[in-house]
């Protein structure tokens, strides 16, 4: 029941109605769990640009981003049986894995260069449009940008620093000079508004 609700609000792939695209990803994951490599290749083709784009955005270093993309897809393959369509969409499940891998990478020691103070001080506001050079200007991306534009400035900044910057909410509070403990509320409020504007996850 909830599955039908979820799939009807998934992310559309180009030229494919939303519901069937989400169903297709879920189906590809299920087949992957049974060892179907062709299904996994199809899943890779359908999602690689988003997965790699996120890895590049968070990790920044192209070589490391490639490693993260590869690790993320391996994890998707290995744990595909753990995907539960009742809990959410295949895309969300997959992007959650990719995001976690990216954040783990960027927080590890060798990524310390990214965290220089110059970056903190000068670039604490991230503009999605300018950082997404290679982004496909899909209609979906435009909808997301529009939804993000509806957030308050501090909600948007906090969410972007957390999601794309890979910062913890405590670090976000420091960067935005918010009282400790309030950044997590801004992140949550921003996510709720994004979710509701996009009509997903409920």
């Amino acid at each position: 029941m909830s599955q039908a609700k979820r799939t009807s609000s998934g992310t559309p792939l180009a030229g494919v109605p939303a519901a069937s695209a989400a169903d297709r990803l879920a189906d590809l994951l299920r087949r992957s769990a049974r060892g179907d490599q062709a299904a996994f290749a199809e899943l890779y083709d359908a999602t690689q640009a988003r997965v790699h784009g996120l890895a590049v955005r968070v990790v920044r270093d192209p070589a490391q981003a490639e490693e993260v993309t590869q690790e993320a897809f391996l994890e998707v393959w290995r744990t595909s049986s753990r995907f539960d369509a009742d809990k959410g969409s295949a895309l969300s499940w997959l992007m959650t894995i990719c995001h976690r891998k990216s954040v783990d990478r960027v927080r590890s020691a060798e990524a310390s260069t990214r965290r220089d103070t110059t970056y903190h001080q000068q670039n604490h506001t991230i503009d999605i449009d300018t950082t997404a050079d290679a982004a496909q200007s899909s209609m979906e991306a435009q909808r997301v940008r529009k939804a993000m534009a509806s957030l308050t400035d501090v909600q948007r900044e906090a969410l972007e620093l957390a999601y794309f910057g890979g910062y913890t909410h405590t670090e976000v509070a420091g960067i935005l000079e918010l009282p400790v403990g309030t950044a997590k509320t801004r992140i949550r409020d921003g996510l709720i508004r994004l979710r509701d504007k996009m009509g997903v996850g409920s």
Binding site: R6, S9, T11, R34, D36, Q37, A41, Y44, Q48, A49, R50, V51, H52, G53, L54, V56, R57, T69, Q70, L74, W77, R78, T79, S81, R82, K87, S89, L91, S92, L94, M95, T96, C98, H99, R100, V103, T131, A132, A134, A135, Q136, S138, A141, V144, M148, L159, F164, G181, A183, K184, R188, D189, G190, L191, L194, R195, D196, M198, V200, G201
Partner: protein, 238 residues
């Protein structure tokens, strides 16, 4: 501050937590369906953010990914209800072991739900691989109430299965349930019939220090019934 833990759902959903907060929040999530549902829904929205930074991966990455997966087997499924309980409930073991002697056979016809190790063969992982692991351990216990249970485990593969033989049939609405013991805390590890071959132990039997089996109501429960313990194993140090 702990009254405030729900507020961490957003930060947790986008990995904006440190390791300590993550562990803390995951303990909270295990018992808070509202927070779990909220995290799931917030992740749906967050996943769409990647749409705005989409970027083609290099073509040769595809080849690398697809050739690597040939060497990696997909994990077998967890059963959702058991998986949830693995997160949901943790309690102390000692009372359980003390109560072992109190095991009472319950007569009647079994109508238990159990999950044999019957993954599709295409996953490529077999009980034989476990049996051939260099560090395989095979532990057997005869039960006071009749029958026997054998655990076959490989710490290095983080894998184990249980076989049961002629254990007392349970009355309708009852099942045997497995528990792995982690630092004195038991974690639900699946359901098993009284006469079953090679039932996969869920969770992380590789890092567990022991395994217990109890009689529970059909479908399994979140905390073991300490007065219905059938057997408890201590795993040898590996």
């Amino acid at each position: 501050m702990s009254g405030d833990i729900h507020a961490l759902s957003g930060a947790y959903a986008v990995d904006a937590v440190d390791d300590f907060e993550r562990a803390q929040f995951e303990r909270h999530l295990a018992g808070c369906a509202d927070c779990q549902a909220e995290v799931d829904s917030l992740r749906e929205g967050a996943a769409l953010l990647a749409e705005t930074v989409s970027q083609q991966a290099p073509p040769d990455l595809r080849d690398r990914v697809l050739s690597t997966i040939e060497t990696v087997r997909p994990l077998p499924p967890l059963f959702a209800d058991v998986q949830d309980r693995a997160r949901a409930h943790r309690r102390r073991l000692p009372a359980m072991v003390a109560a072992a002697a109190a095991f009472v056979v319950i007569g009647g016809v079994g109508a238990t739900v159990w999950h044999p190790w019957e993954q599709p063969s295409s996953t490529g992982f077999t009980a034989a691989q476990l049996e051939q692991a260099t560090d395989v351990q095979v532990l057997t216990k005869e039960l006071d109430g009749g029958g026997a249970i054998t655990v076959t485990r490989s710490p290095s593969l983080n894998s184990a299965y249980v076989s049961t033989h002629n254990m007392p049939r349970l009355q309708s609405g009852r099942t045997y349930q497995l528990w792995t013991i982690h630092d004195g805390v038991e974690v639900p590890a699946g359901l098993v019939d009284g006469d079953a071959s090679k039932v996969l132990v869920e969770g992380d039997p590789g890092s567990a220090q022991g395994l217990a089996i109890t009689i529970e109501k059909a479908g399994g429960v979140e905390t073991p019934s300490t007065d219905r313990i059938v057997a408890a194993f201590d795993f040898p140090e590996s």
